[in-house]
């Protein structure tokens, strides 16, 4: 336990130390070279901007976050359902999965303008863009999970006369849960990226402006410290989304899955 505690402490302290050294070097370099603030602001300039513009940036963050979370929820529900349909019918899977791949590999920047023209409600348009980026990992992971039920357990279910529905709910769905959650963690980050990219393309999304537009705007005005502050908020949000999804997944799997239980036994 003591050794584990030390390990945990190191895992938190070491990256923080690296970050602090990096910031200190950055600060020193900017001050010594006299680089103007509109090219490369010092960390202290960014911190000041974060303090001053913080409230208005947080408002924008909320707009982006709403789109991100809605897209992620839609990706989880619709992606899960698509995977379920794929697992029920091999024919449907081989007929439709190439199109899911096409949707996935087409750069969202390229189709976002179309979507924004087609869908007039800004929120829905941005949501759709973020969803397109986020849904694929959930579909592909969950489909693999639904199809990887233990062969002997399948035989056992057959021996006891289980119906197709029982095999699905008692065996395939629980087997797929860790796969689904792994997909969800990937999609969390992707939904945020999708939302930001869509905002870049859409410009100001009606009356509300998301964080991405604030970054563009700050760039145009050479308000570089504010640009960095917005960027910082964006990264922090991405990390927070990942941590929350990771926590949910650990909670759900804590009783049985090796990816969680194995670690504890070490």
């Amino acid at each position: 336990m003591n050794r584990q505690g030390k390990q945990l402490w190191l895992r938190i302290a070491a990256p923080l130390a690296v970050g602090a050294i990096f910031l200190a070097l950055w600060q020193a370099a900017v001050r010594l070279s006299g680089e103007p603030v509109y090219i490369l602001p010092a960390p202290s300039d960014i911190a000041q901007s974060l303090w001053v513009d913080g409230p208005s940036l947080l408002g924008s963050l909320l707009v982006t976050l709403r789109i991100t979370l809605a897209a992620l929820a839609a990706a989880a529900i619709i992606g899960g359902l698509i995977a379920l349909v794929f697992s029920l019918s091999r024919l449907i899977e081989i007929s439709f999965s190439p199109y899911a791949v096409i949707l996935q590999v087409t750069p969202i920047v390229a189709i976002a303008p179309l979507i924004i023209i087609w869908i007039h409600i800004p929120f829905l348009a941005l949501l759709t863009c973020a969803w397109i980026v986020a849904f694929f990992p959930i579909v592909s992971n969950t489909t693999v999970g639904l199809n990887s039920a233990d062969r002997n357990l399948l035989a056992l279910f057959k021996l006891y006369g289980a119906s197709r529905g029982q095999v699905l709910w008692f065996l395939r769905v629980p087997t797929a849960l860790p796969y689904f959650l792994a997909g969800l963690r990937i999609s969390g980050g992707l939904a945020l990226i999708g939302a930001v990219v869509a905002e870049f393309v859409a410009g100001t999304g009606g009356t509300e402006t998301g964080l991405a537009y604030r970054i563009l705007e700050a760039g145009y005005r050479l308000a570089i410290p504010r640009l960095f502050a917005a960027l910082f908020l964006l990264s922090a949000t991405g990390i927070a989304i990942y941590l929350v999804l990771d926590l949910i997944s650990r909670r759900l799997l804590k009783n049985w899955h090796e990816s969680v239980s194995g670690e504890r036994e070490e």
Partner: protein, 278 residues
């Protein structure tokens, strides 16, 4: 559904009511299982089994002994109805309704997301049986394999031997007429294996379920069985059918007896011959 056929309130302990005991003795020699000319050829063209004739009487402990690749497991799957034979006939005196046949795989094959109790309850859950009586039967089966107190544990919290016990409890919980075991102890360490051999014997002595036991261990087959079908490989055939008449009940003392040693030697020699003349 199948519980309608068995007497109500019956628990794992004292499984057979005394009323049916005499009727059972009368049909002691009646085959529970009869295989006639069973062959299996896979899609790849591999002939796994060739014209197997084999019968098992009620209450018998029959081992299928042979090298890996002799089709023992395939034969077991055919008996369970999980794989159809390519030719021949597999007849069972027990009805094929769910729960009449218990199956234990080489791996414990447990659902890792379910507790021990939920795993053992699986056959009832599939048959849509709920309630206290079903729960009692599961608890009795868990305690019969020596796992009382572990009902709410998850498989990953148990040792390999304990997981295998859960698997056996699940196979026994429906009080089957035929128990099929596919090298259940092959992956366990020697100490656990010997312990589980003894436990399986005690369960069999108490229930007298007909057992079909697949193994590649000569010592295990002699210690456990009343009969051994020695198989040869490629294609799998029954090369010899040996009766093991070591006294019952068997215990660790049996393993020390000269009769046991002699029988092991005999079975080894037969197996050796079977492997040469293929």
């Amino acid at each position: 559904m199948w519980m309608a056929g068995s007497s109500p309130g019956k628990v794992i302990e004292g499984m057979r009511p005394s009323l049916t005991r005499s009727a059972e003795q009368a049909s002691e020699r009646a085959p529970v299982l009869e295989l006639r000319g069973v062959s299996k050829r896979f899609g790849s063209g591999l002939e796994a089994l060739s014209r197997i004739d084999l019968a098992a009487s009620r209450g018998e402990f029959l081992s299928l002994l042979g090298p890996s690749g002799c089709g023992k497991s395939t034969l077991l799957r055919i008996v369970a109805g999980l794989t159809p034979p390519s030719a021949g006939d597999c007849r069972l005196a027990v009805d094929r309704s769910p729960g009449r046949i218990g199956f234990v795989f080489q791996d414990p094959t447990l659902m890792p997301w379910s507790t021990v109790a939920a795993n053992v309850l699986l056959p009832f859950r599939i048959a849509r049986h709920r309630g206290g009586e079903v729960r009692d039967r599961a608890l009795a089966a868990i305690s019969a394999v020596g796992l009382a107190g572990f009902e709410d544990s998850y498989p990953h919290q148990l040792s390999g031997g304990m997981r295998m016990r859960v698997s056996i409890a699940r196979a026994l919980v429906t009080d089957p007429d035929l128990l099929l075991l596919d090298e259940p102890f092959a992956a366990l360490d020697e100490i656990t294996r010997l312990q589980l051999n003894d436990d399986l014997l005690r369960l069999w002595e108490r229930h007298r379920t007909t057992i079909l036991f697949v193994t590649h261990s000569v010592f295990e087959s002699v210690y456990l069985s009343t009969r051994i079908a020695v198989m040869s490989a490629r294609p799998g055939r029954v090369a010899a059918d040996l009766t093991v008449d070591l006294p019952q009940p068997r215990s660790r003392a049996t393993r020390m007896s000269p009769e046991y040693a002699a029988m092991c030697e005999h079975v080894s020699a037969t197996l050796g011959q079977a492997m040469e003349t293929r």
